[in-house]
Amino acid sequence: MKTLSRLYIALILIFLYAPLAVMVIFSFNASNSTSLFAGFSLRWYAELFESEATLSALKNTFILAVLSSVIATVLGTVAAVGILGYKRKWTKSAVMSATNIPMMNPDIVTGVSMMLLFVFIGKFLSLKTSLGFTTVLIAHITFNLPYVILSVMPKLRQMDFHLPEAAADLGCTPFKAFFKVVLPNISSGIVTGFIMAFTLSLDDFVISYFTTGPDFQTLPILIYTMTKKRVTPDMYALSSLIFLSVLVLLILFNVSQSKSNKRSHKN
């Protein structure tokens, strides 16, 4: 039974990793094919760093992810604190239902609905095109917000609400009490929300695809345009590099976490 279950786990992992292995292997292909391996070469990695379009898309993707996740984290954290203070039950459930909409709706509907709004506004102001960096940024902030709110909310609920009161009794202004007492208590939720928002934004294709204009290209959109024609191995090279950096980051994160766990066990 034990060997059988191990075999099963191994099979599923092979299924999950086969396309990634293909991607890494073909990124070293000497020819420009993504189906026939003609020998080892690093030329696609070299070409990658010479392609203007790829580098600018990479830069755009990062700017977008940083900006949208930071704004969503600030806006979402403040919102979560406010929502928890609602006195009436129905206002709370109304706001929370609206918050859940972008998570429940398929990406294509979220993308299309925002595109229609931007196009409508653009028509109203008789602009040539209203779609571009600003509209993608708004879209990313919007789909990031629920993830921030839903990761901060549980931490807020776990917190002892008398702590900020005590701080106020001891002479803190509400503003100071928030930064000195509430924020440290919910910081882990904020960090989780931020990381989720950042990675979602980094990876998003569908919503960006509908809300961006011709002047602003992110990496997923560039990849999409390239897969419409024929993909050359430089995209595989780029993806392998991204995969490697994610892997390194995750390992570092896990090592540091297990170290701090050990330390807290010792104390």
């Binding site: 293909v22 991607m23 919102a79 398929p106 925002m114 990849i223 896990n254």
Partner: protein, 273 residues
Amino acid sequence: MKKASIGNPFISSPYVVWSAIFIIVPLLMVAYYSFTDANGNFTFSNIAALANYKEIFLTSIGYAAVATLISLLIAYPLAYFMTKTKLSTQGTLMMLVMLPMWMNFLIRTYSWITILANTGLINTFLGKLGIGPLQLINTPAAVILGMIYNYLPYMILPIYSVMSKLDNSLLEAAGDLGSNALSKLSRVILPLSMPGVISGITMVFVPSVSTFYISQKLGGGKNMLIGDVIEMQFQSSYNYNLGAALSLVLMVLILICVAVMNRFADDDGGVII
């Protein structure tokens, strides 16, 4: 005791305004475009035109349902076996399951072409054995495989997280009361893991039924799904009104599905991520 409050509810107003403008109004926009023509006049013609897409709607639902079912059948035993390994192994396995999701979705899907194509890895291998070439790419099966491949982690994660929290003493009690392995599974593990199963089903079905990239790449244009039709209206034929009507129906359809699924999860109804 009066519940203490930590902040003025008023500070949530920037968010409330934001979500009204960028969540609620866009949905109203979808409805507005669905019932108007290109000049902004009221019409039912977009809704009437939906009848032409009945087949495609049914195909999309069918593909997504098959993909969801197979994902469930793969993920459930996997999650169960994972909980039986050592705790440190569980962490590593969980990371291994999630890691591919960090890879760009388009590239992950695209590399299946290299594997499945007529001159691809599988057919080259089969050719050496004297079989084939088999038509693997551009088939309904390839599209369904793409869905399963991309969304399987979304099924594994919630089921595993519910199962790993399962109280072991319940199983021991069932054993003491004379349950064998099979009835333990059907009468203890299965009912208790239902919330994970439900949220797994929603998390696989919703992106599968609305995809357009997977069907474009692995279906070769022959296996159009509803996502493809919507994408075409907005990005190539520029018929926003018809596209809006199609999106409206897709949205309503999914809301009904999610509502039905949540009925089954009479728990706290929260989505496990």
